[in-house]
């Protein structure tokens, strides 16, 4: 049951994403039928699953939500801005309720009630026929699949103001087919031996017919029945012909036979056969059957769960996952509240358990991986047999074989990465909510636009991005975008815009948060930093450095501490979080136009492409992603500065020249007098600042597995991590950004106390 519950919650997550997507599309003005249906289905599926687990809160709320959505679907009201806003709010509540059911924080009942009331209000404005029209359709569309639920609804009014429940479960009626469904059914002896009964099947068929507003017509073929004297009591002789109304789908009919398909002969044919039905069937078969079933003392104690009859009307995913023991409900006397207590108990117990991490992966990715592993096995066998040969040709083939295995290994690595990769959509869509909430707290009107949600990154990154992004977006809402009055005064549209985008750029993922606010007030930032003692008053800082001051611990320019931000903890936490992921933050800001924050993150935290270089006698790795070019310098391009450092001019760009061995204090040999013909690597940090590193030798380009040096030793300046090379030696991976920042720091010759912080 726990497993199924977990699957249910995963389904919920997917449905909530679907819901978010649909509602976003609605708010963008796409009110196509398909969009509305998708939104409706999402809520409906959550309700369906929740009902089978007895998650009452969830069922209650999603029911009301669904009812309102049904109004939208049936065109009773249009998806106006306000309506969509209410739905978005309801979605937030719904997702909190899902979280609560999963064992998360309890949802404030007043929030639920508020959203509840808003939804009900929408539904009411949709037209007075709400209570009549949809209720009327409901009467004949009996929500059999939720039969345990209506009973649960009765005591609801304790928590919520009474909402007229119309029990419209919004069954999606199958498109009317032209012809009726004809079912022929002959139970085997085994069906009775199992304790089942032909009667249950007939009841199941009657139920699905009634669900579609029709009735079944049954005729019994007793031609095979012997006289009483010859009759074997536990042998099955009878065959039934049942005609179902045309609206009934084959799938739902098939589902009736799900549990008995082994124990009976049945055929389901769609054809117009009404005329063949014996006219003496006086038509009353269907409802009496139900009444009888409801009132009959439980004949099926031990087989209550068997007939899956009413199930099929559920949307497929839920249907597949949560077959409900509906027969039990059918046999309960009306009004009984003994719904499914064991299920509820189990569900609640499971809800308290911490969630287990699992991911859903496209099957084809697993298949790809499997194919590659197959090839790897073959390649390994080839190498094994080649290695036994001693002739020169064998040696040559061995080398070839090994190199093809290398490419295979890389493919496998990519395939594994693809398995772990997840679109950032899940995180990004959560941000919509963050912005909505922040807007309602600050009273601003801001639209968040998402771009590149399909960009895939390693799942560890996806999870860890949530907090930094939340901080950044709250900050953008609170500080970035001006108040509506200020915007209008500045000649901007009253509605603020934030764009959150993700893209792949040269082996890294770049996430940008761009607002169209006032931009960073550098003067104020500088003054604040001085006031807080972060920098001395006489410090000379570049624009970029001033921008970066907002990431300093304890920095906040907000005049008042608001709920959202202003406590001076947000931004430095963001920076630390991003840095711990191996990422960098860049800021660019234009006064009056807005600010753009960029996070550049590695795609994976495990492997990087690096260039093997030698400096000061040590082999080290520099991430390829930060290397712009490599070249051999001419003395004439190098200019000495008074402090002893050098700059190099490359095609007119001047950048600091850093002897790597010296910078890392590796070299015991004195610096060379002439730098002519030195090998340099031009490297760049995330904000675009460049420096040239002088190295002794460029050895190779390779993939390295990242091992944390901080967790194994301690942090070292200029080193981000370590790796183990093919020969078994440990090699350091250089932190290019730190080196560049430190070099730029030298050249700016700014007060030394700010340097270490900015260099990080």
């Amino acid at each position: 049951m726990d497993d199924i519950l977990q699957i249910f919650f995963q389904e919920c997550d997917e449905q909530l994403q679907e819901l978010e997507r649909g509602l976003s599309a609605l708010s963008d003005g796409e009110s196509e039928h398909e969009t509305v249906n998708a939104v409706f289905r999402a809520v409906h599926s959550i309700k369906g699953g929740a009902a089978s687990f007895g998650l009452d809160n969830l069922v209650r709320f999603s029911h009301v939500f669904e009812n309102s959505l049904d109004g939208l679907r049936s065109g009773r009201f249009a998806p106006t801005h306000d309506v969509v806003k209410t739905f978005l709010k309801a979605m937030d509540v719904l997702s909190d309720l899902v979280n609560e059911a999963r064992g998360g924080a309890a949802v404030d009942p007043t929030r639920v009630a508020e959203s509840h009331a808003e939804l009900a209000a929408i539904n009411r404005t949709g037209g007075d026929h709400d209570g009549t029209a949809s209720a009327a359709t409901t009467e004949d569309v009996i929500p059999v699949d939720f039969s345990p639920v209506p009973i649960d609804f009765e005591p609801v009014t304790a928590d919520f103001e009474p909402i007229p429940f119309d029990f419209d479960f919004g069954e999606e009626k199958p498109a009317p087919a032209a012809a009726a469904l004809r079912v022929t059914f002959h139970p085997h002896d085994a069906l009775y031996e199992r304790g089942d009964d032909a009667r249950n099947i007939l009841i199941g068929l009657a139920d699905i017919a009634r669900e579609c507003g029709g009735e079944i017509q049954t005729s019994c073929d007793w031609s095979a029945l012997p006289p009483l004297a010859d009759l074997v009591p536990d042998k099955s002789y009878l065959t039934w012909h049942i005609v179902l109304p045309p609206e009934v789908s084959e799938e739902s009919t098939n589902a009736v036979f799900d549990w008995v398909s082994e124990d009976c002969d049945f055929s389901i044919v769609r054809e117009s056969t009404e005329d063949e039905i014996p006219p003496e069937q006086d038509g009353g078969q269907a409802e009496p059957a139900e009444t009888e079933a409801a009132a009959a003392p439980p004949p099926e104690e031990e087989r209550a769960a068997e007939p899956p009859a009413p199930e099929p009307a559920l949307p497929p995913p839920v249907e597949a996952l949560f077959p409900m023991p509906v027969a039990a409900a059918l046999d309960l006397p009306p009004g009984s509240t003994a719904t499914p207590p064991p299920v509820t108990g189990a569900a609640q117990a499971a809800a308290r358990k911490p969630e287990q991490a699992s991911i859903r992966v496209d099957l084809h990715r697993i298949d790809d991986l499997m194919d590659l592993v197959g090839e790897l096995v073959i390649a390994q066998a080839a190498i094994e047999s080649l290695s036994r040969r001693t002739d020169a040709a064998g040696q040559h083939e061995l080398v070839q074989s090994i190199s093809s295995m290398q490419s295979l290994t890389r493919d496998i690595q990519d395939a594994v990465m693809a398995v772990r990769a997840q679109p950032v959509r899940a995180v990004f869509q959560r941000m919509q909510r963050v912005v909505r909430e922040a807007c309602s707290m600050t009273g601003k009107d801001i639209v968040l636009t998402l771009e590149g949600e399909d960009t895939e990154v390693d799942r560890t990154l996806v999870e860890k991005l949530t907090d930094p992004l939340t901080h950044m977006l709250r900050n953008a809402v609170d500080h970035g975008i001006e108040s509506t009055e200020a915007r209008i005064a500045a000649g901007k549209p009253a509605e603020g815009h934030i764009v959150l985008s993700a893209e792949h750029r040269s082996g890294r993922i770049l996430i940008t948060i761009k607002d169209d606010g006032a931009g960073i007030n550098r003067q104020r930032v500088f003054e604040t930093a001085v006031k807080r003692g972060i920098i001395p008053p006489n410090a000379v800082l570049s624009d970029d450095e001033i921008n970066n001051l907002i990431f300093m611990p304890g920095f906040s320019t907000a005049a008042t501490v608001s709920n959202l931000s202003g406590r001076g903890v947000g931004m430095d936490v963001v920076k630390q979080a991003i840095q711990s992921l191996g990422g960098r933050i860049t800021i660019s800001s234009t006064p009056g136009k807005g600010t753009t924050f960029g996070f550049s993150l590695p795609l994976t935290l495990a492997i990087l492409d690096g260039m093997l270089i030698v400096a000061g006698g040590s082999t080290m790795v520099i991430p390829i992603s930060s290397i712009i070019e490599t070249m051999i310098v001419k003395q004439s391009d190098i200019y000495a500065l008074p402090d002893g450092s050098n700059v190099i001019s490359i095609r007119g760009d001047c950048m600091p020249l850093i002897p790597l061995a010296t910078a890392l204090k590796l070299s015991d040999a004195p610096p060379r007098d002439s730098l002519d013909a030195s090998i340099i690597l031009v490297v760049e940090n995330e904000s675009g600042a460049r420096a040239a590193l002088i190295v002794d030798e460029i050895r190779d380009q390779t993939q390295v597995v990242i091992k944390s040096i901080e967790s194994n030793y301690r942090q070292i300046f200029g080193v981000s991590a370590a790796t183990i090379l093919g020969d078994g030696s440990v090699s350091l991976i250089l932190d290019v950004s730190a080196l560049v920042a430190s070099a730029i720091g030298h050249i700016d010759s700014k007060p030394s106390n700010t340097r270490p912080e900015l260099a990080a």
């Binding site: 031609s223 006289p227 099955s236 049942i242 004949p299």
Partner: protein, 99 residues
Amino acid sequence: MIAEDEAGPTLSIAPVPLPERLDTAAVEALKDLVAQAEAEGSALDASGIAYIGGLCLQVLLASGRPLVAPSEKVREAFALFGVSEFLSEPSTSSSELSA
């Protein structure tokens, strides 16, 4: 001694009361009961039946014995099984049934 209303022309003694639950477990007993009723030429009293399963239905159909005073439950069950006509023809015989 005479059963009320449509007890049928052949009835000479009281109809045999049938048990409340005619489920699969009750089928053997029902067969004996019905065989006995057939031997005695008596009708079957269906007034107390609350549940009829498929196997017991077969026995009742095969016997052709008239069901006296069928309860609402019996009517519903027969309708469900598509054999309502069996109730409305009290004197049906098994030979007619198998026609």
